[in-house]
Symmetry: C2
Subunit: 145 residues, 2 copies
DNA sequence: TTTTAGAATTAGACCAATTCTAAAGTTGGT
DNA sequence: ACCAACTTTAGAATTGGTCTAATTCTAAAA
């Protein structure tokens, strides 16, 4: 176990336990991906995650990053946020919350609980149940007027 | 002006006026695209729109469909809805409303006004103004118990 | 330990949606 | 009619992501 740079002091044991508790089989690749991903709450693209994992010295292919993110989404470990056709983010914070997206800067930020809408999550279309509620408020920089 | 099939009895004059009023220069291609698009309220992909325009006898390239949709979005004539990395819909109804997306059927439907959330659209991040609020509630078919 | 079967990983081919390019065609103002 | 600016076009290129088939790993049994 050659984990040289210990810049993110994530308790390895906890992440292993987390993965196992969600029915994810452990592999070296999944561990290093999870280490980087869950080091902190963040919004990250598959590509950025691949870079981050690579920089952290974990040798993992891009396909595995995609596979693993897909798996983590299915297991409820991360949330997928579709911003547009070329921007899919993964949010390491799965608690129910919403987002601001700044179209000028490309920045994605969490919405304060207080600002978030209150919903009647009944009244869904006949014969359907809620999967996930995605609210993205697109904002732009105030023009310097 | 060889408009053979008049299946959608959209008043041509109104659509022309609409485009002009939004600062869109008129061309044959933009007219036929608008005719098909605004024939009714609908959620349509660029590809579906290309097919529909082609079926209606309007000879327009796919690049023009993309260009024109982009233009119409910028001019506030249609709304862009990003469902995932491979599904971008264009909504010919620009009035403020939200959507249900059925992940099983791929169906996108309008949310009833009464169900929609009520927002405080203040409290946006510092220095930003609202661009557009995108709420997509993803639902799935109720499993047959 | 070895074996084994299923699961996971990989590189690279592939795919679909979209954008780009540069040449040709339109348009509206004069 | 003429011109400059704008628009359209086909096809190439790009991008984000998925698929494939061969290889490697894992964990449990022998």
């Amino acid at each position: 176990m050659e984990l040289s740079s210990t810049q993110h002091a994530t308790p390895c044991r906890d992440i292993n336990a987390l993965l196992i508790s969600r029915g994810v089989n452990l592999t070296r690749q999944r561990r290093v991906i999870a280490d980087v991903l869950f080091a902190r709450n963040q919004h990250i693209t598959a590509d950025q995650l691949f870079d981050a994992v690579t920089r952290a010295g974990g040798r993992v292919s891009k396909a595995t990053v995609y596979n693993t993110l897909g798996l983590f989404v299915r297991k409820g470990l991360v949330r997928e946020i579709f911003i547009d056709a070329t921007r899919t983010f993964y949010d390491s914070n799965t608690s129910q919350h919403h987002h601001f997206y700044n179209v000028d800067t490309g920045e994605l930020t969490d919405m304060n609980e207080k600002v978030a809408p209150h919903f009647i999550d009944q009244d869904l279309p006949q014969g359907t149940v809620l999967e996930v509620m995605d609210l993205v408020i697109r904002v732009k920089n105030k023009s310097p007027q």
